[in-house]
Symmetry: D2
Subunit: 396 residues, 4 copies
Amino acid sequence: MTLHTGRHFLQIPGPTNVPDEVLRALSAPTLDHRGPEFAALTRRLLAALGPVFGTSGPVVVLPSSGTGAWEAALVNTLSPGDRVLFFETGHFAALWTAMAERLGLDVEIVPGDWRHGADPEALAARLADDGAAGGGHAIKAVCAVHNETSTGVTSRVPELRAALDATGHPALLLVDTISSLGSIDYRHDAWGVDVTVAGSQKGLMLPPGLGFNAVSEKALAASRTAALPRSYWDWAPILEANRQGAFPYTPATNLLYGLDVALRMLADEGLPAVFARHARHARATRAAVRAWGLEVLCADEREHSGSLTAVLMPPGHDADKVREVILERFDMSLGAGLGRLAGRVFRVGHLGHFNDLTLAGTLAGVQMGLQLAGVPIAAGGLEAALAVLREEGGNA
Amino acid sequence: MTLHTGRHFLQIPGPTNVPDEVLRALSAPTLDHRGPEFAALTRRLLAALGPVFGTSGPVVVLPSSGTGAWEAALVNTLSPGDRVLFFETGHFAALWTAMAERLGLDVEIVPGDWRHGADPEALAARLADDGAAGGGHAIKAVCAVHNETSTGVTSRVPELRAALDATGHPALLLVDTISSLGSIDYRHDAWGVDVTVAGSQKGLMLPPGLGFNAVSEKALAASRTAALPRSYWDWAPILEANRQGAFPYTPATNLLYGLDVALRMLADEGLPAVFARHARHARATRAAVRAWGLEVLCADEREHSGSLTAVLMPPGHDADKVREVILERFDMSLGAGLGRLAGRVFRVGHLGHFNDLTLAGTLAGVQMGLQLAGVPIAAGGLEAALAVLREEGGNA
Amino acid sequence: MTLHTGRHFLQIPGPTNVPDEVLRALSAPTLDHRGPEFAALTRRLLAALGPVFGTSGPVVVLPSSGTGAWEAALVNTLSPGDRVLFFETGHFAALWTAMAERLGLDVEIVPGDWRHGADPEALAARLADDGAAGGGHAIKAVCAVHNETSTGVTSRVPELRAALDATGHPALLLVDTISSLGSIDYRHDAWGVDVTVAGSQKGLMLPPGLGFNAVSEKALAASRTAALPRSYWDWAPILEANRQGAFPYTPATNLLYGLDVALRMLADEGLPAVFARHARHARATRAAVRAWGLEVLCADEREHSGSLTAVLMPPGHDADKVREVILERFDMSLGAGLGRLAGRVFRVGHLGHFNDLTLAGTLAGVQMGLQLAGVPIAAGGLEAALAVLREEGGNA
Amino acid sequence: MTLHTGRHFLQIPGPTNVPDEVLRALSAPTLDHRGPEFAALTRRLLAALGPVFGTSGPVVVLPSSGTGAWEAALVNTLSPGDRVLFFETGHFAALWTAMAERLGLDVEIVPGDWRHGADPEALAARLADDGAAGGGHAIKAVCAVHNETSTGVTSRVPELRAALDATGHPALLLVDTISSLGSIDYRHDAWGVDVTVAGSQKGLMLPPGLGFNAVSEKALAASRTAALPRSYWDWAPILEANRQGAFPYTPATNLLYGLDVALRMLADEGLPAVFARHARHARATRAAVRAWGLEVLCADEREHSGSLTAVLMPPGHDADKVREVILERFDMSLGAGLGRLAGRVFRVGHLGHFNDLTLAGTLAGVQMGLQLAGVPIAAGGLEAALAVLREEGGNA
């Protein structure tokens, strides 16, 4: 057994930071998922989810990981061989792309360097090529990751939407918000997204185990003809059962208890305050990184993530070694570099139920870990972060 | 809000009866699913699951409902258009059958009356027809439900296996144990099952949210060529990650904490004692039903379920009315009649973390509810059940 | 470790039956007992406690067992050598009497047989003797137990008050409601009680650890001159600190979290409904006992307890043997006979968070235990109880 | 309701820092406090408590706050009018002194400045005066606070013992370890203490609600003749009941569940490691305070507390204003200056379940709060603390 002499600092970019009140809610007794008490809970949850996604349309709740919600988005809207456009923005974008390939879709990738978000200009160019004259609208869906968890880079979704609109292209817009929903400003309806993919274990402040799809009218229409085989992920029976406050399978009741509390907490704080809190913590983190003389992976000021920061190691230093020192000495978990970034970055999660002093403790641990691992850093990183925390904002 | 003046009696045949200790375990803080502490948990869980399924082979744990585990069993082993044999044994068998159709399989159904389990003789006859001379082994899988949750009837799996063996038929044997595993004797390896499907919310004494596939060597071999599209459900990356104590997606960590406790509790009691306890409670329940002058749905003495009992209503009486009276007056949930049995049966769950006095309270509630709903019953039902409880067994 | 295969039936007359929601509240993180958040909690609790005691005066909350609240009642109102009148009504009355002796009071006992409550006529006679002409009001306090937990007999407090009033005697009236408050109708102000003693672990549906004193103006006045040494129990600093939402010591914060939930639950159900529920369960229990041909200890129909029932064993049978059989075979705890009743009675608690089916299970266990222990009982006890439950009341 | 956007920093010097695992244990169902399962728990607890107090003698567990354990120590060992020597070392020493006066003892106070512990030399001198020739051993007990929670100053108990031994004085030695037990090295037997007073809510990592007395043979002997009236606090019936694994009253069962877990956690870490961790955190805190140019209240290097640090404000600055800013801006509770120190100091608790990064977050909050409140401090305080954390120790 691991010995913890105090609370573990879980500063991976999710799962993380579940409020005690949510954790306690998980341990309420199971109940009859076909009875009136559960129906009332379901209706309350479905009503409260919409504002978090920024939609007045339906939100489908799935007993799955976030990857299940990826699959649901694809199989409900597409048919075998459909062309789908992905952006090479990071490890999770690559995993979603690989999933599409395994499901029999015709995947096309807009190249990228993992330091920028999805490129709206490249998208516009590609869509123009795929116009009536050229490709005949072969592209059926554009899939983007709003906040790439492996890089700490966001994509500017409204600009992606604008590219679709400018070219009059009918492709669906599918967006992964697994590590941004409830942390970074996001608006399903206003931004014209067709399917928003989310998971429970990040900004929604829950343990993993629930996936979500917010669904536009256009996506619903597409689902009626989409021919990829589907059963578990099929929206139709879920939406039908939801009308009675039920599900067509046994839902993950106890995670839903937690969701009930978490949604109330988000509403109590107010989404604008939630987003401002995360943005401020991200600024403080970047201030520390830069004062240490290190580089933030995200290369575009417009695209910094509010929920995590990926830090590039100086040449010759192994990020995993730093993480190991920090775990052993300071009982803090940080995110590893994934895929092509393995060993080259570590990722600091600063999302969910999180406040200034926990961030201060986190950055203190990072600073000490870098020093102990022999990474050359300048003095003053933590102080630079505190300057941001001290000068701005209220109780956060 | 529903007012509960005491503990709700959740006597549906699942979800039900999660031990307090398991519920508390759910509220432990989330942890790094890629770190060493979680890896140790994963290894402990995977080692402890095998004995519960009666297998020395791998058990795949999925973040899903039980229906997800159905889907996983099919898409990992079969190809589009494959012929699959199902038995018409009840509502959940029908749902699984419908899922297979939606996934593009060629479904064949052995007819049944929902009062008997899968018929081994009918299976043997059908397999003989499908022999080398006849169908050329067109049937790729035989799918049976070990304990049909809608009827309280079990299928004699060893006899199904014997039918396959006697005809030398190479079809895979897929068995749903969602409402039997951890309640009714079951042996994946000894009975020659290829995929065992299970869920967390019944005999495993957990909330819903986890699905399971125990997988034979033959099923693993089939998965290498099976061509149904799959990604989320794919066993291969899971089994590979499991070797490092990890998962290829973010697992439902907090449900796994509960599983850890539940598996220890099953081991502490001992599976034979667990099965004997359930069987004894089922006998007591049937004694009550018969003394009331009512009929148990299950029509074959060899096939009574140990985990639930479905009770047939006398003509002219609505089972749902009885359930409603019982819920309102006695704060007890019973299972409804499903599908073609709607209104004609109610189902009493007596599984999971459950003991004699809770059964006595349950049957007292059923008896009073029948009386209050005006269903004519003979006196002495509850006393007949107590006679069973009094005369047999130990502390159960 | 004790193996529980289902939920233990804790049918002692307290501690018992803590609602899951209250138990979960206990595990909220501790907080600053001098900060604003705790002050708000304290004020909410103190406001909600009054109605439960039936008082508009102060209620003192003590980090103690119920016996501590006994001691607080005595040391705040009396001086060394003061004469105090007790009634010989049961084991706990005897313990409180012995406490008074140890604290240096001059104890006088009105004899009793442990099958009746405090005798108002005997009290009136004794007070008359102690009048101005006779004893010169030597008696400074009359101490009665509202619901004697060892016997299941209540005392008619309003008639005790009437005896004081009729004789114009100035003695204080101190009443123990440890096992009646929140279960049996009780009214501190309306009944003219000076100190009401209570504990957390019975009708208040909490674990043990909190004691209570509701205090009349007259008792407060007495406390200003009472000369028994006191510090921990002293009301004055507590009442003063309470005005700021604080306590003069570190209060048992987490039990107070539970109290907050429990008081809300009592208010949601409504005290009259709470009392009616307990009374109905007590009637059903007595119906069972009598149908078995056994005798209820309480000998006066006006004095039956709503929260527990003590059952007399037939000659030659040992109540503890029955309890042992029931614990081993059915995992149910019953109350032992205490003091002079050891081995002669067992006590069934039916209080707190408790409903019809749990009572049915409880009485089924008692019935089976009596049979297994070889105690001759008539048939039909459980059915007699169910007849009460079936015919009366709503969802209780 | 207070809005917490992350975990509250509860850095008062108790209650504080209850491990999640302990909090969850509190919510286990109540059980029969006279049954075999509870008896096993009691025996396990009593066996595990001895090593924490450093005694092979009995430890009495009381359902009370720490002030109750003070009272128990006095009333079990002393008689009305007995002379008792106290040291003027801080607010809690003064409260204990006042309690002794209220209980009718003849209190004598060794003067002090609240910046030093109990003075062994002054004690030796006073005891010599009270020798056979002089006072005739009028002093019956010497009462010292091991770790004064209001000042962060410890008393050197072995030197107090030595003063008693050197003068051959028979007075009992009573020591308050409420905020040191389980945090700072302490040895009841080895240091010749007669009664050690403790509470649950500090180093024992529990919520408040339990008091403790470790009792020497000499104290037990004194209790047989001590004449202060006592009932609730009386050791004799508790020790007698404890022999059967029981208590003479209904114990605070759910806090005992938590104690069971907390004692196991202390044993898992090992007391020497626990003490070293606290001492290291105290050194880091003092390094910060001094680098800020502020003064630690404790004036003797030998007497610094391991569990809290009291910080003196520069003239003209109000400590409560700093605390208010820190609570509002950073959701952290610090301890107020008490009694004569009100407004002049704030106290930082760094005890219990606590680790390096939580300390770093704590000190970051203190530093920012001082700056925001306009208190002139030098730069580098937090960095000085991190230097201590970085250079020393292991995973703490």
